[in-house]
């Protein structure tokens, strides 16, 4: 049996060698017919082991999530903006903000985008217990997102047809105002977010509440190249109101509602919740609450 097998193996090996030879000849012929000298060298470079780095396949393109927004600016002109949100940035933002249920240790809260305001001690079943009061750390989230928003802002500027000299404030405000106003859930993707969407998630979900939209507005404004904007979040608490506004450093014009900082100057207030409010104009109720001093400022930059 062995005597019979050997010639068969030899024949098949010879076949393989001939076939491989023919394939090589065919490839060489193809190169000679179609390719110039450069192409030849490139082909050889591609196959040579020394130049693997130069000819390695391009890195995989980052997956992007597309979100379309319809809005109006100015007044009657309909616009459509398409944002491409990088998936990795979005996932990282979702991961970085919010605490799992039951986790309320100050260290954990601080790490996950919350700012501690104080501590409350109370009795439960005759046992003293402590509870930490916290708010969203707007500054941390704002600064972390600046890089993500450069491309998105460029996209918004292009869709609003803004020139370099024109103040983008009104257009950006109009865009943010047209985003649907809806209170985010207290828990998002299994984590406690205190009804606040970080700016990228706000764009991803296509809705947000007052503070989510105010921070989104701040991200857009401060990402304009060379703008050097100064922004603060105004948290209004009192007179039955719990609201958030954005204030930016601008020249005071007649009729506008402003806040004055003795070191930084005038800040005009922006209402991001619903369309129709020009920069510096807010509802009477909110004005009354601010006049009465029921507000708290959070500097963003």
């Amino acid at each position: 049996m062995d005597k019979v097998k050997t010639p068969i193996i030899l024949v098949s090996t010879a076949k393989d060698i001939i076939l491989t030879f023919l394939v090589c000849v065919f490839i060489l012929c193809l190169v000679n017919i179609n390719g110039s000298k450069e192409n030849q060298s490139r082909l050889f470079w591609d196959f040579s082991g020394d130049n693997i780095k130069t000819s390695s396949p391009e890195p995989k393109q980052e997956k992007q999530i597309v979100r379309k927004f319809k809005w109006r600016y100015p007044k009657e002109t309909k616009r459509e903006t398409v944002f491409r949100i990088p998936e990795t940035a979005l996932k990282s933002e979702i991961k970085k903000f919010g605490v799992p249920h039951g986790q309320s240790h100050p260290f954990f809260l601080k790490k996950r985008g919350f700012k501690l305001l104080g501590k409350r001690t109370f009795m439960k079943d005759h046992i003293p217990q402590e509870q930490y009061t916290s708010i969203v750390d707007y500054q941390q989230i704002f600064q972390r997102n600046q890089e993500n928003f450069k491309e998105l802002t460029r996209c918004l500027i292009a869709s609003a047809d803004l020139s370099r000299e024109k103040d983008p404030l009104h257009a950006f405000l109009s865009f943010v105002q047209y985003i649907r106003y809806k209170l985010p859930p207290r828990y998002y993707k299994g984590k406690f977010i205190n009804s606040f969407f970080v700016p990228l998630v706000c764009l991803y979900e296509k809705y947000g509440d007052c503070d989510s939209k105010a921070l989104l507005m701040a991200e857009f404004l401060c990402s304009v190249p060379g703008a050097g904007e100064k922004a603060v979040i105004v948290l209004v608490r009192g007179r039955g109101l719990a609201h958030a506004l954005l204030a930016v450093k601008r020249k005071l014009l007649p009729g506008m509602t402003t806040l004055f900082d003795i070191k930084k100057g005038y800040y005009i207030i922006l209402e991001t919740s619903k369309p129709g409010w020009a920069p510096g104009f807010i509802s009477r109720r909110v004005t009354d609450a601010i006049k009465a001093g029921f507000f708290y400022l959070v500097a963003l930059n």
């Binding site: 100015p74 009104h170 601008r250 014009l253 007649p254 020009a278």
Partner: protein
């Protein structure tokens, strides 16, 4: 910082015009409303200038205060609309619409002011049936004048908050 050439000057001019218009409207409107309410029995100018009637002066002041507050409440929504119009780019049509809006807003303030004053007086007259208030005031009864003035001012304070909402809707319309 971005430059907005012309906006500051134009906005200031419009704001000053608005304030002047509010003052004129509130004074003129108050005098007309007062003579209408007294069925022209009282000559307001004569009572104040020649008879030095403090009662009439008090009632007139309360009317001016109430209608003036209504007009000033309209100023903010008007300016809000002005900045929105400016951002859209000013055309002849938009300027005309804006001017019509201003007129509408100020007239709205005057009408609501008049309704407020009328309502306040009607409530008071229903509560105190036995007294002819205007006759008392004409005779120099300051006590009645004070009660009427304060009623008008307080009712005006309740009503002034709705003026700005109406003005916003006037411009949206």
């Amino acid at each position: 910082m971005y430059e907005t050439p012309g906006l500051e000057l134009l906005s200031t001019i419009i704001y000053v015009i608005l304030i002047f218009a509010s003052v004129i409207l509130s004074v003129m409107g108050s005098m007309i409303i007062l003579s209408f309410l007294t069925r022209r029995k009282i000559d307001v100018k004569e009572e104040i200038a020649y008879n030095q009637n403090i009662g009439i002066a008090l009632v007139l002041s309360s009317f001016i205060w109430t209608i003036g507050r209504m007009c000033l409440e309209s100023a903010k929504p008007i300016m809000n609309e002005w900045y929105n119009t400016w951002a859209s780019g000013i055309t002849f049509k938009s300027a005309l619409t804006f001017a019509a809006g201003i007129l509408g807003a100020l007239l709205n303030a005057l009408i609501i002011g008049a309704i407020t004053v009328y309502l306040a007086l009607k409530i008071l007259m229903i509560l105190i049936k036995d007294i002819d208030e205007w006759e008392e005031i004409k005779q120099g009864n300051i006590a009645v004048a004070i009660v009427i003035s304060i009623t008008v001012v307080v009712v005006g304070m309740f009503f002034e908050s709705i003026v700005s909402y109406i003005v916003i809707n006037i411009f949206r319309f």
